[in-house]
């Protein structure tokens, strides 16, 4: 995947679509976890969600851009 993508002549970092994709994925994961009430096994849900998102985004970024 290219490092930068041109949208109508505007250069956008290639990480942006990955970021948006991860956001979407995160919403789905959130829905799933919320439906089965799994967050009650986590000490600090917001921290867990942020960490999970960081993991997802880092992983996807490394996979696609490395």
């Amino acid at each position: 995947m290219p490092r930068e993508i041109a949208i109508q002549g505007v250069l956008v970092p290639g990480l942006l679509p990955i970021f948006l994709g991860c956001l979407l994925l995160m919403v789905l994961v959130d829905l799933l976890i919320g439906r089965y009430g799994l967050y009650r096994y986590v000490w600090h849900p917001p921290l867990f969600r942020l960490a999970l998102f960081a993991c997802l985004f880092g992983l996807a970024g490394l996979l696609f851009l490395h």
Partner: protein, 701 residues
């Protein structure tokens, strides 16, 4: 327990005031800590990312950090949308009118006005989105006006800075000692459930005085509207609530429907009691008693839906047999008709109560299975308040623009920018006029503090830790004031003022002449935004708007009589409650106006609901044309009466309702609803009583 905590415990018991104050102060300092953390983090990140103006990120943090920060994500969501819309609009505006300052400023003023109007229209966190849409458009487009070629880069920078500020504010308030609103919501929902069940159980005796019913109604409406407000915010912060969202809506709707049916039943029983028709009253109370018995369980299970749901279902199964038995004991004709009416309403109520308890039971389960019916809580927004806000903000901005153009003021940008921010913020406040002048004072103080920091404390410092050390003492006053509601909105003005005039940059630029000119322009902007509230006052909460809402509340019955039937029951229940709630919060409890509003709300609920049930019955069954026509005439007459209530309309509606009951002799399913309507028209405790012919005995139903 340690000695120290025992000591404080004892002290707390001895001086409850002290304990309360220290608890409040603790929360205030936590908020100060969070705000400062977010401010410095935003500044550091902005400098690290080499953004042009770290101050923009800091101001954004100042605007969005708020002590009621339970619902960070709801705010962030709307804010992000607002920012994107605003920046897109700002860019488009610059592209369309790069050299047309009059048109440019006119469009800009209109946009900011529309955003302020939107902020008043939506009372929840959507308001933030509108505030930011106006702010971002201004901050993207205005500074670039002198240099149209660099507009894209400048816009990109501003959007990045604003987004960074939003992100930091969101993450900090979400991660650092977050206030979990979910717990509050759950607690309130359970308390409401318990109240409602207690109220239903407590009235097994049969009659409730109208005054008590009014108070209960007020309580239930408040709870219904609040639960919906909280639900709409909490779904953003909590995935578990999000998974339960549809069910919670359904729960609220079942509750509202059950409350209306319950009231209708008691209005009927009260009326019969006043007419001394003791046989019917006794029969209806006997029919009602099993529900009270089903709700009376072991003391620790009184509010447990898992115990209540099967008991209520069992009770519902036994109802028809009991009804037939009791009905046989009454004289045919009038007595049986009154009893049938009561039984119909009671069955409806029991059905809705069962639904309510069962949904509550499902909600308390760990895992949410399957899908449920989607219902919506319809808001009854009034566009006039928003229109006034649009007009006011537009005038403010247009005045500033005209002055800017006419005087060739070099710092007009700052004035415009600040007017935008404060118009939006003020428009969403409950008491804007007082807030406006508090904010203005706060802003002036903040600027003085900022100038002192920037030109006395900062020049000697070197590096980020020193910058924090130099700015911290005066910066923390803002959030501290903000966390104390007794200071009004001084804190809000102070926090924005100090950050704005500090204008932290890397490397820092010191230019006293520029700073003082800027300060004067900013103050002018804030002042104009505040003064505009004197010239174009806010309509929300004014007597004019209350009378308007009152009329709209009555017209809910017209809606019930004429709107398409699909989804109408839900719409009617939520819209009429929302309207009532909006109007009643601005009246003094116990005042004549407040009592009139309550009385009308009860009448509207009873008649509206009866009309809807009647129309549904009419649609479901096969009836001869003359029956349909008679019923239709009665429905229209009732609607006319609620649109313009007076003695002749009421008389006419009553006559047509009687005629319809006569015409429905062969349609027993329709008669109870018509009888309910007729009773509501003749209720001598309802507000319609004033138009009843004097001297006529109340018992002529």
């Amino acid at each position: 327990m340690s000695v120290a905590s025992m000591k404080t415990g004892r002290a707390a018991r001895r001086w409850p005031v002290l304990a309360e104050a220290s608890a409040g102060e603790g929360r205030a300092w936590l908020f100060v800590f969070k705000t400062l953390l977010a401010l410095y983090l935003a500044a550091w990140l902005a400098m690290w990312l080499r953004l042009e103006q770290p101050a923009t990120a800091m101001i954004t943090v100042g605007i969005v950090m708020h002590p009621h920060s339970g619902m960070v994500q709801a705010k962030s969501f709307y804010r992000a949308i607002g920012t994107l819309c605003g920046s897109a609009f700002g860019l488009a505006l610059l592209c369309v009118f790069p050299q047309q300052r009059v048109l440019f400023l006119l469009c800009m003023s209109l946009w900011v006005g529309l955003c302020a109007g939107g902020a008043t229209l939506y009372r929840n966190f959507m308001a933030y989105g509108f505030v930011l849409a106006g702010y971002t458009a201004a901050i993207v487009a205005l500074p670039a006006i002198g240099n149209p070629l660099g507009v894209f880069d400048s816009a990109l920078m501003r959007v990045s800075e604003v987004m960074l500020g939003l992100l930091v504010a969101g993450v900090v308030s979400e991660l650092v000692f977050p206030e979990r609103l979910r717990l509050v919501l759950r607690q309130e929902a359970r308390a409401h459930f318990a109240h409602f069940i207690d109220f239903v159980r407590g009235s097994t005796g049969g009659s409730i005085p109208r005054a008590e019913m009014e108070q209960a109604h007020l309580r239930f409406v408040r709870a219904a509207v609040q639960l919906e407000n909280q639900r709409a915010s909490v779904i953003f912060e909590d995935p578990e609530i999000r998974a339960r969202s549809t069910r919670m809506r359904l729960l609220n709707q079942h509750n509202m429907a059950a409350a209306t049916s319950f009231q209708s039943l008691h209005h009927l029983i009260n009326r019969l009691q006043r007419e001394r028709r003791d046989a019917e009253v006794a029969a209806l109370i006997a029919l009602y008693r099993p529900i009270g018995a089903a709700l009376t369980t072991a003391p620790d299970e009184l509010h447990d839906p898992a115990v209540l749901a099967p008991r209520l279902r069992e009770c519902a199964l036994g109802l028809p047999a009991r009804e037939a038995e009791l009905r046989a004991g009454l004289a045919p004709g009038r007595a049986q008709l009154a009893f049938d009416t009561g039984a119909t309403v009671l069955k409806r109520f029991l059905d809705e109560l069962c639904g309510y308890v069962e949904v509550e039971l499902a909600l308390r389960g760990r895992v949410q299975h399957g899908a449920v019916e989607r219902v919506h809580f319809r808001r009854a927004n009034d566009a006039t308040g928003a229109m006034v806000a649009v007009l006011r903000t537009f005038l403010t901005m247009a005045t500033l623009s005209a002055f800017w153009i006419a005087s060739g003021w070099a710092f007009g940008v700052s004035a415009m920018l600040l007017a935008t921010v404060f118009s939006g913020l003020l428009a969403a406040m409950p008491n804007p006029l007082a807030s406006a002048f508090n904010m203005l004072a706060g802003y002036a103080l903040g600027m003085l503090a900022g100038l002192f920091t920037a030109y006395v404390l900062l020049p000697g410092s070197d590096g980020f830790p020193m910058l924090v050390a130099a700015t911290l003492p005066l910066l923390l006053i803002g959030p501290w004031l903000n966390a104390h509601p007794e200071f009004g909105n001084i804190g809000g003005g102070y926090a924005i003022g100090i950050v704005y005039i500090l204008a932290l940059k890397n490397p820092m630029v010191y230019d006293p002449a520029h700073a003082f000119n800027d300060a004067i322009a900013q103050l002018a902007g804030v002042a104009l935004a505040a003064v505009s509230f004197v010239f174009v006052p806010r309509v929300t909460g004014s007597g004019w708007l209350r009378r308007r809402q009152f009329r709209r509340l009555r017209e809910q019955v017209v809606e019930a009589a004429s709107a398409p039937l699909d989804g109408l029951p839900w719409r009617f229940e939520s819209e009429s409650r929302d309207l009532f709630h909006q109007a009643i919060v601005h009246t003094r409890p116990g005042s004549r106006e407040s009592r009139a509003l309550l009385a009308w709300a009860l009448a509207v609920h009873e008649s509206g609901r009866a009309l809807i049930e009647l129309r549904q019955q009419l649609r479901a069954g096969r009836y001869p044309v003359e029956v349909r026509e008679a019923v239709d005439r009665a429905v229209q007459a009732v609607a006319r009466m609620y649109r313009r209530p007076d003695a002749t309309q009421r008389q006419q509606a009553e006559g047509l309702a009687r005629a319809a009951i006569e015409a429905c002799a062969a349609a027993p399913a329709l008669r109870p609803h018509l009888y309910q309507l007729l009773g509501a028209l003749r209720d001598d405790e309802s507000p319609l009583a004033g138009w009843m012919p004097a001297g006529e005995p109340a018992r002529a139903t």
